[in-house]
């Protein structure tokens, strides 16, 4: 079963936020916060949801959890309709809002008890989460107002996951966490994935998305611009290659996948390599290569490239590009000994 499906999900706002949702009402000066978003998140995967500020990430999450009402389109979470079954969805989903605000007068322990009771499901993961995020019982007895930003974020993570939700919606989950805690958090995500839980993960930290996500969707100005496997996205990325040879330089211009060949004054050769490295290796095989560097592709470059590829569009989002949507990635071939 798919954990999350959106079909042409759309949200428009008036210039001044309308106090009451009125289906079909399109005031003058409508801002299209989200336009025709269609994505599928499979059960058991960690799905990254990326985009710059104002791209529509939070709008999407808020639509899925019933904070906002869709202008058009539909969506289901765990097979439940987001409009009709919002309460049941929230029973089965854990949500970490971005920049979470907590009840300052409560102690950490009392806060987790309170939120756990409201959820109505036993907090079976709480002890494990507290242990992994190094939140001691002494810390939990202190009022939340005394907590640092990182500690608040840890409490936010615990409240979202303590009842072992089938789907966790996490908005910037590592914001404020130090590197050690970030690593601990990634470990928690790995365990959740191993246990078959689904994670819908919004982040600005691309290395983090690359580290934890199976697939990513990239939104820009309310529209989907890419939906890909992370491995596939990385594979698509041009690699930066630098090599040095003794003797005549190889003729790389005509090699499939190679572009931007430059021979520098000191004899080094620069180029970009796209896709399979086999033809490139074959082209340099007859030469005496004294140094070779192929930089690993990072998601950040792929991400930025997708943005650069996108057509500039107006505020109404009318000329956004067609999304790049990949089929499931084939097994990655081994290319180098």
């Amino acid at each position: 079963m798919d954990a999350l499906v959106t079909t042409s999900l759309t949200k428009h706002y008036g210039h001044r936020e309308m106090p009451v949702h009125r289906p079909g009402h399109r005031p003058a000066g409508t801002v299209r916060a989200l336009e025709d978003l269609s994505i599928v998140v499979h059960e058991g995967e960690i799905f990254g949801f990326l985009g710059p500020n104002g791209a529509g990430k939070s709008t999407t999450i808020r639509l899925l959890l019933g904070y906002l009402h869709p202008t058009a389109g539909s969506a289901s979470v765990l097979g439940l309709d987001i409009v009709r079954d919002s309460v049941e969805i929230r029973r089965r989903v854990g949500y970490l809002p971005g920049g979470i605000a907590l009840y300052d007068s409560l102690s950490g322990e009392r806060l987790l008890d309170y939120l756990g009771e409201l959820t109505g499901r036993p907090s079976i993961r709480r002890a494990e989460l507290l242990d992994r995020l190094e939140l001691s019982s002494r810390t939990l007895r202190r009022p939340v107002r005394d907590y640092s930003r990182g500690m608040r974020q840890k409490i936010g993570i615990v409240q979202a996951l303590q009842h072992d939700p089938e789907l966790a919606v996490l908005d910037e989950p590592t914001e404020g966490l130090d590197p050690l805690m970030q690593r601990a958090f990634y470990g928690i995500l790995d365990d959740l994935r191993a246990a078959g839980r689904t994670i819908f993960f919004s982040s600005h930290i691309l290395s983090e998305v690359e580290r934890v996500c199976d697939r990513v969707a990239i939104v820009r100005r309310g529209r989907l611009v890419a939906l890909e496997d992370v491995a596939r996205l990385l594979e698509r990325r041009k690699r930066n290659v630098e090599l040095r040879v003794d003797g005549d330089p190889p003729r790389l211009e005509a090699v499939p996948g190679v572009s931007g060949v430059r021979i520098l004054p000191d004899g080094r050769i620069d180029c970009q390599l796209d896709g399979d490295v086999g033809p490139f290796l074959a082209a340099i095989a007859g030469h005496r290569v004294t140094d070779l560097t192929i930089e690993p592709a990072h998601l950040e470059e792929a991400f930025l490239e997708l943005y650069e590829d996108a057509e500039p569009d107006g505020d109404d989002g009318t000329s956004a590009p067609e999304p790049v949507v990949s089929a499931p990635a084939p097994p990655t071939p081994a290319v180098l000994p």
Binding site: Y13, E17, G66, Y67, L68, V87, L102, L115, T119
Partner: protein, 267 residues
């Protein structure tokens, strides 16, 4: 209704509730003492013409009878401020305040419908107001007993007085909650509710002190709190019904607006 949310509201307000109950009980104890100590002298003073007669009817209360003194206690600014702690302060911060602080995000991430949240908070504020008014009645009883005028008090009519107070303050609380669910910030919700309370109070007091403005009183919700008449055995049923209708409209508005509102990310 959510018992857990109700419990949270109770725990967060209980100290404040205790303080307000003690304060209003003390104030209500004081009024029979004033009546017993100064009522006769004040009546002589008024009858002498030194003080204009209009000043003997402040919002339907006076100090020349026990019923009048109790009524005066109910419309005195001290009572208004104490009851407004919950009818205005609690209600406006319950949704708009949580929204402004960002904690509504966490609350509405739980499996609670917005109706459930609203009705739980409405029940909580009605309990708080009911307890404050009960404390006022207890204070009245204690004060009357201490100064030996208990025989002048129709104790069996105190529950009707409590009900009259509940309808007035419950209606104001419903208006406060309706404002609270309609705004993203505390200030406008508080401003709208305070404006309704202050204007309503002003119309009633102005009409009670100035005969030419007496016609304005019917537009004030406070006009339908008729403590002296209730203790005297007369119940203004149309007035009570009007308070119930206004309160019902405020509840209906909140129940219509809150579930349909778009709650954008807090800024």
């Amino acid at each position: 209704m959510s018992r857990t949310l109700f419990g949270h509201a109770w725990r967060s307000q209980r100290t404040k509730l205790l303080v307000v109950c003690v304060a209003i009980a003390a104030w209500s104890t004081f009024l029979p003492v004033i009546y017993q100590s100064f009522g006769t002298q004040m009546k002589t003073l008024i009858d002498s013409g030194v003080i204009p007669k209009q000043l003997t009817n402040f919002g339907g209360g006076d100090v020349f009878s026990l019923g009048g003194a109790i009524a005066l206690g109910y419309v005195h600014p001290i009572s208004i401020i104490l009851l407004s702690v919950f009818a205005v302060g609690f209600t406006t911060s319950a949704i708009a305040g949580e929204r402004q602080r960002g904690t509504l995000e966490v609350l509405l991430a739980r499996p609670l419908s917005r109706w459930q949240v609203y009705l739980t908070l409405l029940a909580a504020v009605l309990v708080f107001i009911g307890l404050v008014l009960a404390a006022a009645s207890i204070g009245t009883l204690i004060g009357s007993a201490v100064v030996g005028v208990l025989d002048e008090l129709a104790i069996e009519r105190l529950p009707m007085l409590w009900l009259n107070g509940m309808l007035l303050w419950g209606t104001l609380a419903a208006i406060g909650l309706a404002a609270s669910v309609s705004f993203d910030r505390l200030t406008p919700a508080l401003g709208v509710t305070m404006a309704i309370v202050v204007v309503s109070y002003f119309l009633d007091i102005l009409g009670s002190l100035w005969p030419d403005a007496a016609g304005l009183q019917r537009y004030s919700l406070f006009h339908y709190l008729t403590a002296r008449d209730v203790l005297g055995g007369t119940v203004d049923l149309p007035g009570l019904a009007l308070l119930a209708v206004v309160g019902g409209i405020a509840i209906a508005v909140a129940l219509a607006v809150f579930p349909r509102r778009d709650l954008a990310a807090p800024s």
